[in-house]
C-alpha cells in the first residue's frame, strides 16, 4: 500500500480533532447538566478510531463497545445529534432511547454499540456473514477492548470467523497494562496468541501513532477485501487518565495543539501521557515535521472544529426532552 498522501493525512487529523473536541464538549456538558448515565470517553484512542473509519467504504458495517463516541463521530455522524442523544433529548441519534452507551447511525454503517462486553465482536462477525452472503464486497469492522477477550464469546466468534472465512476486521484497542487494574486478564502472553492459534492473520500497531495506524488499518482492510478472510489488529494504547469518568473532569487539561512544539512546558501528574501518549499532539508534531502543514494551518483547522462543536452543542441544548409517550413506541418493527 502506498504511503498516505498529505491530503489523506490531513483528513485523518481532521477526524481526530472532531473526536477530541467532541469528547471535551461531552465533559463540559456533563459538568453543566449533571445528566444521568456514565461516560466512557474515547480520548487517547483517536488515531485508531479515525484510521478505522477512513478504511471503511460505503456499505461497510461497524459494531463498537461502550467506548463508542469517537467512532460515531469519525464515521461522520452529526455531532449535534450525538450530543442530543447523550443528553437524552428528542433529536438524539436514537431519539433519546439509547443514550451514550447505544449511539448508532445505521445510514453510515454504524450498526450498534453494545454495552455488554463481548457484544460487538460477535455482532460484527454476523454482519460479515450477511455481507458475504450479499456478495457486495463489503466488509465489517469489530471494535472492542482487550476486556472482550476475557469473554468466551470472543473465542467463539474468532473461531467462527476463521472457519467460515468471514470478511471482518477485528480491531482490538488494548489499553490495559500492568500496574493499573487491567481491563483484561489473559493468561496468553500476547492477546494475538488467541486469534493466531485460530489461524487468523494478526497485526500489532501503536494505536496512538496516526501514521502507523492509518497505514496498518488501510492495509488490513484491503487484505480482508482481497482474501475474504478475517484479520485481527491489536492497537496498543496508553489509557487516558480520565478514561473512566465518575465525575466529569479534564485530568490532562483542554487540548492545546501548540503544546506539541513546547513539550518541555508540560508539567504535572499526567505529563507523561501528554508528552508521549496523546495521539493528537503526536500527530501535530508529525504533520509539522513532515511539512504536511504548519502550526498555524492546524490551529485554523482546530478553530473550525471548535466552532462546529459549539454549534452542535447549541443544537442539542435547544432540543427538548422527548414526550413520555414515546417510551412505549417502537418495541416491534412494523
Amino acid at each position: 500500500m502506498a504511503k498516505p498522501s498529505h491530503a489523506e493525512r490531513l483528513e485523518l487529523f481532521r477526524r481526530m480533532l472532531h473526536m477530541r473536541r467532541f469528547e471535551e464538549m461531552v465533559i463540559r456538558l456533563a459538568q453543566a447538566y449533571e445528566y444521568t448515565g456514565r461516560q466512557h470517553l474515547h480520548i487517547g484512542h483517536e488515531a485508531t478510531g479515525a484510521a478505522v473509519a477512513m478504511a471503511m467504504r460505503a456499505g461497510d458495517k461497524i459494531h463498537t463497545t461502550h467506548r463508542n463516541h469517537g467512532y460515531v463521530i469519525a464515521c461522520g455522524a452529526d455531532p449535534g445529534r450525538a450530543f442530543a442523544e447523550i443528553m437524552g433529548r428528542r433529536d438524539g441519534l436514537n431519539g433519546g432511547k439509547g443514550g451514550s452507551w447505544h449511539l448508532c447511525d445505521a445510514e453510515r454503517g454504524f450498526q450498534s454499540t453494545s454495552a455488554m462486553v463481548g457484544g460487538s465482536i460477535a455482532l460484527a462477525a454476523g454482519a460479515a456473514f450477511a455481507l458475504k452472503l450479499a456478495g457486495s464486497g463489503n466488509i465489517s469492522f469489530a471494535h472492542f477492548g482487550d476486556g472482550t477477550l476475557d469473554e468466551g464469546v470472543a473465542y467463539e466468534s474468532l473461531n467462527i470467523a476463521s472457519i467460515y472465512e468471514l470478511p471482518v476486521l477485528f480491531v482490538c484497542e488494548n489499553n490495559s497494562k500492568a500496574g493499573q487494574r487491567p481491563s483484561s486478564m489473559l493468561a496468553a502472553a500476547r492477546l494475538q496468541d488467541v486469534p493466531a492459534a485460530l489461524q487468523i492473520h494478526c497485526e500489532l500497531v501503536d494505536g496512538a501513532d496516526s501514521d502507523a495506524a492509518q497505514i496498518a488499518f488501510q492495509k488490513a482492510a484491503d487484505r480482508v477485501r482481497e482474501t475474504g478472510k478475517p484479520v485481527f489488529i491489536e492497537a496498543t494504547l496508553e489509557r487516558w487518565p480520565g478514561s473512566h469518568q465518575v465525575k466529569a473532569a479534564f485530568p490532562t487539561g483542554v487540548t492545546d495543539l501548540s503544546l506539541a512544539l513546547n513539550l518541555d512546558k508540560v508539567e504535572g501528574k499526567h505529563a507523561d501521557w501528554i508528552k508521549q501518549s496523546d495521539p493528537i499532539l503526536r500527530a501535530t508534531r508529525a504533520l509539522i515535521k513532515d511539512g504536511v502543514s504548519d502550526l498555524v494551518g492546524l490551529l485554523e483547522m482546530d478553530a473550525k472544529v471548535n466552532l462546529l462543536m459549539e454549534d452542535a452543542r447549541s443544537f442539542a441544548e435547544a432540543s427538548p426532552f422527548p414526550d413520555a409517550s414515546v417510551a412505549f413506541t417502537g418495541v416491534f418493527a412494523s
Partner: protein, 324 residues
C-alpha cells in the same frame, strides 16, 4: 446497636458467614456497588483478603466455577455487579446449578450464592436496567432473595450462605444507602417468611425489592386521603410465603401487587395468581397489577420515568382497588 447502611449490612452478613464456615469463598469485587457505599467492601477485604478472587470478565465460566466448586464441597459467593451481566451465565444458573440436586437424585447439591444488582437506576438504558428475578423464578431449584432493609440484608445473606441450594441474592442498587440499627451479633432470617411492613385496613399492597420502599411512600400519601394501606414485603420470591400474603388480603379484602419486573409473566402476576387461586372469595374488588410495561427501559429521563412502576403508580392503583 450499631447503625448500618444496607451495603454494610450485606457485607456484615457475609463476614459472619466466612467466619462460621471455612469452606466459604468469594469470587468477585465491587460487592458493595460502585456508588457512595462502595467502601463497605473494605472490611471484607481486610479480614478475608486471602479468600477473595477477582475474576476476569467471564460471567459464564465464573458461574460454572462457582457451581462446580459448590458441588465439590466449597461454598462460593459469586458477585456479578449489574444483574444483566449474569445473562451471560443463563445456562449455568438455570440448567446446571438449579438442576443438579434433582437430576442427581439427591447425590449432589450446589450451595452457591449469586449476588446481583438489578433495576432501573437512572440512565442505565435498555442494556443496564434489567431485573431478571421473575425469569429466574420461572425455574425450579433456585432460591431468590430480595432484601429491602439493612436488618433483612444481613440476616438473609447469612441464610443464603448457609443454604444447601443455589441462591440468588438480588438487590436493587438504589437501596444500598438505606440505614437503620442492625444487631451487631450473628443472626439469620429464614427464607419463605414475608413481613408486614405496615399495618392497614383498606387495601394490601404486596411488593418486593425497590417496590416495597415505593409502596411505603404511597401508603404515607394515601393515609392523608383517609386510606389505610397495608404493605407486605415478600422478602424471598422463592420460596414464596403465600400464607402471609393471603392473610393480609383476607383482612383488607383488596389487593395491589407491585414489582419492578415486567407485567407479563412477572412477579406481580404471580402474586395475584397465588391469591386468586387460594382466596378468591376474600377479594371485594378486582386485584390491580403494577409492573414494568412491556417496553425496554429507555435512556432519556422522562422516558425512563414513564416505564418505572414508582410511587405514583402505586397510589393510583390503590385508589382504583378501593374505587376512589
Amino acid at each position: 446497636m450499631p447503625q448500618m447502611n444496607l451495603a454494610e449490612a450485606l457485607i456484615d452478613g457475609l463476614i459472619w458467614s466466612l467466619r462460621a464456615d471455612p469452606r466459604a469463598t468469594i469470587i468477585g469485587r465491587g460487592i458493595a456497588g460502585h456508588g457512595p457505599e462502595h467502601a463497605a467492601e473494605d472490611r471484607l477485604k481486610q479480614e478475608f483478603g486471602s479468600r477473595i478472587i477477582d475474576p476476569p470478565t467471564s460471567e459464564a465460566a465464573v458461574a460454572q466455577l462457582g457451581t462446580g466448586a459448590a458441588m465439590a464441597g466449597a461454598r462460593p459467593f459469586v458477585h456479578y455487579g449489574t444483574a444483566v451481566f449474569a445473562y451471560e451465565a443463563w445456562n449455568q444458573f438455570i440448567n446446571e446449578a438449579a438442576n443438579i440436586h434433582y437430576m442427581s437424585n439427591g447425590q449432589l447439591s450446589a450451595p452457591v450464592t449469586f449476588h446481583l444488582f438489578h433495576g432501573i437506576r437512572g440512565g442505565g438504558g435498555p442494556q443496564h436496567s434489567g431485573s431478571p428475578y421473575a425469569m429466574y423464578a420461572n425455574n425450579p431449584g433456585l432460591e431468590i432473595v430480595l432484601p429491602t432493609s439493612p436488618r433483612d440484608a444481613k440476616g438473609l445473606m447469612r441464610s443464603a450462605m448457609a443454604s444447601n441450594n443455589p441462591t440468588i441474592v438480588i438487590q436493587n442498587a438504589q437501596l444500598l444507602g438505606l440505614t437503620e440499627d442492625v444487631p451487631a451479633e450473628d443472626y439469620s432470617i429464614p427464607f419463605g417468611k414475608a413481613v408486614v411492613k405496615r399495618d392497614g385496613r383498606d387495601v394490601s399492597v404486596i411488593a418486593c425489592s425497590r417496590s416495597v420502599i415505593d409502596a411505603l411512600e404511597a401508603a404515607d400519601i394515601l393515609e392523608k386521603e383517609g386510606l389505610s394501606v397495608e404493605v407486605v414485603d415478600i422478602r424471598t420470591l422463592a420460596p414464596l410465603d403465600v400464607d402471609t400474603i393471603v392473610a393480609s388480603v383476607e383482612k383488607t379484602g383488596r389487593m395491589v401487587a407491585v414489582d419492578e419486573t415486567y407485567e407479563i409473566c412477572g412477579v406481580a402476576s404471580e402474586l395475584i395468581a397465588s391469591v386468586v387461586t387460594r382466596a378468591f372469595s376474600a377479594l371485594k374488588t378486582q386485584p390491580v397489577r403494577v409492573g414494568r410495561p412491556m417496553t425496554p427501559v429507555p435512556f432519556s429521563p422522562p422516558l425512563e420515568a414513564a416505564v418505572n412502576p414508582g410511587t405514583q403508580k402505586i397510589v393510583d392503583a390503590c385508589r382504583r382497588a378501593c374505587k376512589r
